[in-house]
């Protein structure tokens, strides 16, 4: 049974501590079963680590996710310019887990709330109000789907570190499928793609790179209002190929530019727009790092652009 990733992740039978932390993060997000599961986990591994015990308490609290991430992760190191090492990937992955399961609650509570309102008010609500509730439910479930689709990526990143999953892919096939998916989801969203004339082959995990592109495109759609088409430009180079996702929107506020790919910002409650921009970019960073590439963001005169590179030779 490999149905429902949530369940398998929730399974308390994880051996190493990192995964235990992750499971706790999930327990916190799961709400109803939080207390029980967390205490079961803690009984199983009596507090070898004060941090761990503290986390147990946090998990039963309400702001568990946020609190937990503060407790575990101390001050972030400055992002190194070279590709990150495995230890950092592990860290990123663990904080991703926590953030994701914390963030699942927001759209989920929207769906529950709005559907309950509908059910309870089925006789008193007028058609417009009903339509509005269902529209909210639909929007929240799309959002939820976006988050959930990032989950398999985390497992695949782990495999990548062990050298699995990279195959030589034809870049246009990966782009073609990505664009097709985006256009199915957002029929009015226009994407321009420019690739080199020659067939470009790159070693990669295609599904992970698709997820990176989807996250960047969803981001572009959100921040450019979807009025102007978004460009994807691929350039071939000697050792690396470069991918640019360029939008023509409002650009990225200067104060955010330096922290977009920094997982520590998620513990910062003043990061107000984090609601919908949180995990996507962190997944991008983790995926590209696992491929030994780099990812950066910058503004151009008419909007924002994200640039990532992928090495042309496999490790």
């Amino acid at each position: 049974m490999h149905n429902k990733p949530l369940h398998s992740l929730q399974h308390p039978d994880h051996s190493n501590q990192h995964r235990l932390f992750a499971a706790l993060g999930i327990a916190a997000a799961a709400g109803a079963v939080t207390g029980a599961l967390a205490s079961r986990l803690i009984n199983r591994k009596p507090s070898q680590n004060p941090l761990f015990a503290a986390l147990g308490t946090a998990a039963s609290g309400s702001a568990a996710g946020v609190l937990a991430s503060r407790l575990i992760y101390q001050k972030p190191k400055k992002a190194a310019p070279k590709p990150i090492e495995e230890e950092d990937l592990e860290k990123i992955r663990d904080s991703l887990m926590r953030i994701i399961f914390h963030d699942l609650r927001t759209p989920l509570s929207g769906i529950m709330g709005n559907s309950l309102l509908y059910l309870e008010g089925s006789k008193t609500l007028d058609d417009t109000e009903k339509l509005q509730l269902v529209t909210h439910i639909h929007k929240d479930s799309s959002w939820l789907l976006n988050i959930v689709e990032n989950l398999p990526a985390i497992a695949r990143i782990r495999d990548m570190e062990h050298g699995f999953c990279t195959r030589v892919e034809i870049v246009e096939e990966v782009l073609g499928e990505t664009v097709h998916k985006m256009e199915t989801r957002h029929p009015d969203f226009k994407i321009h793609v420019a690739i080199p004339e020659e067939i470009l082959l790159l070693p990669m995990d295609a599904l992970l790179i698709e997820q990176v592109l989807i996250n960047l495109l969803e981001n572009a759609l959100l921040h450019s209002g979807g009025c102007e088409p978004v460009d994807i430009i691929v350039e071939d180079g000697e050792d690396f190929a470069t991918f640019i996702v360029r939008d023509y929107g409002q650009g990225i506020p200067e104060n955010m530019l330096g922290h977009l790919f920094d997982s520590s910002r998620l513990a910062d409650e003043t990061w107000d727009s984090r609601k919908k921009t949180g995990i996507g970019l962190l997944i991008c960073k983790a995926v590209i790092s696992a491929h030994r590439g780099t990812i950066t963001a910058r503004n151009h005169s008419l909007g924002a652009e994200f640039i990532f590179t992928l090495p042309k030779k496999a490790r």
């Binding site: 490999h2 149905n3 096939e173 073609g176 499928e177 199915t184 793609v193 690739i195 599904l207």
Partner: protein, 231 residues
């Protein structure tokens, strides 16, 4: 001929059942549901439906086991409906004889298109001798291909690939299926040669190979050609 097309839905999740039943009922199909693999197999034998929608996560049998048993005696088209988005599972189901695959959650039109295509390819009916979609026209008798009215030149392998996909327009063909059909039973497992050929065809018929209108890639699974508008 006003008998409704009969679809057997093998699915244990109630909410999925009610959604699919409502969606397809509105489209004019007659639906029977089975909540377990065994019930599904026995209904498939007794009702002889026109098509089966099969979930892979069933309480008693694994959906792939249901498919394997079904395929031992029946050619009823099967469309898999599953929450799993892993390419290996898709490939396994397709190579076991499933006609197509839809991942949950899906858009209503996606499911309807897959069903339509699977039904069209089932009725022992010979594929239309002309493939036509947008600006592309392939005459499968005369073995000629036209784009915007201009004949285009394909190598022998390229034409074989394109015509195989055109005959199966709308449905996904796995790398294995294509390799076996074009290069024979002893074809190499390596699909690189297939993919490079596909890239060359794309350069001849697609305006932008990275935004194809005719030849869609399902990365890790295979290829799907745009539905034939001529049939």
């Amino acid at each position: 001929m006003n008998a409704k097309v009969h679809i057997l839905l093998i699915e244990d999740e109630k909410s999925s059942c009610s959604y699919i039943t409502a969606l397809l009922g509105k489209t004019g199909y007659h639906i029977t549901t089975a909540a377990t693999g065994r019930e599904g197999l026995s209904l498939a034998a007794s009702l002889c439906p026109d098509l089966i929608l099969l979930d892979l996560m069933l309480p008693d049998l694994n959906g792939l086991a249901v498919l394997r048993q079904l395929r031992s005696w029946s050619h009823i088209p099967v469309v898999i409906v599953s929450v799993c988005d892993e390419e290996q599972e898709k490939v396994e189901a397709l190579d076991l004889g499933a006609d197509d695959y839809v991942t949950k959650p899906f858009y209503p039109n996606e499911l309807k298109a897959r069903i339509r295509t699977a039904l069209r390819h089932s009725h022992h009916h010979t594929p239309g001798q002309i493939y036509e979609a947008l600006n592309l026209r392939i005459d499968l008798d005369k073995r000629t291909t036209y784009l915007n009215g201009q004949q285009i030149h394909l190598t022998q392998i390229e034409y074989q690939l394109l015509s195989l996909l055109a005959e199966n327009a709308g449905r996904v063909l796995t790398y294995n299926t294509i390799l076996r059909r074009i290069w024979g039973p002893y074809a190499e497992e390596n699909n690189q040669i297939l993919r490079v050929n596909m890239a060359n065809i794309r350069r001849k018929i697609e305006k932008n190979p990275a935004c194809p209108q005719y030849l869609f890639t399902e990365v890790g699974v295979g290829y799907r050609m745009r539905e034939n508008e001529n049939g």
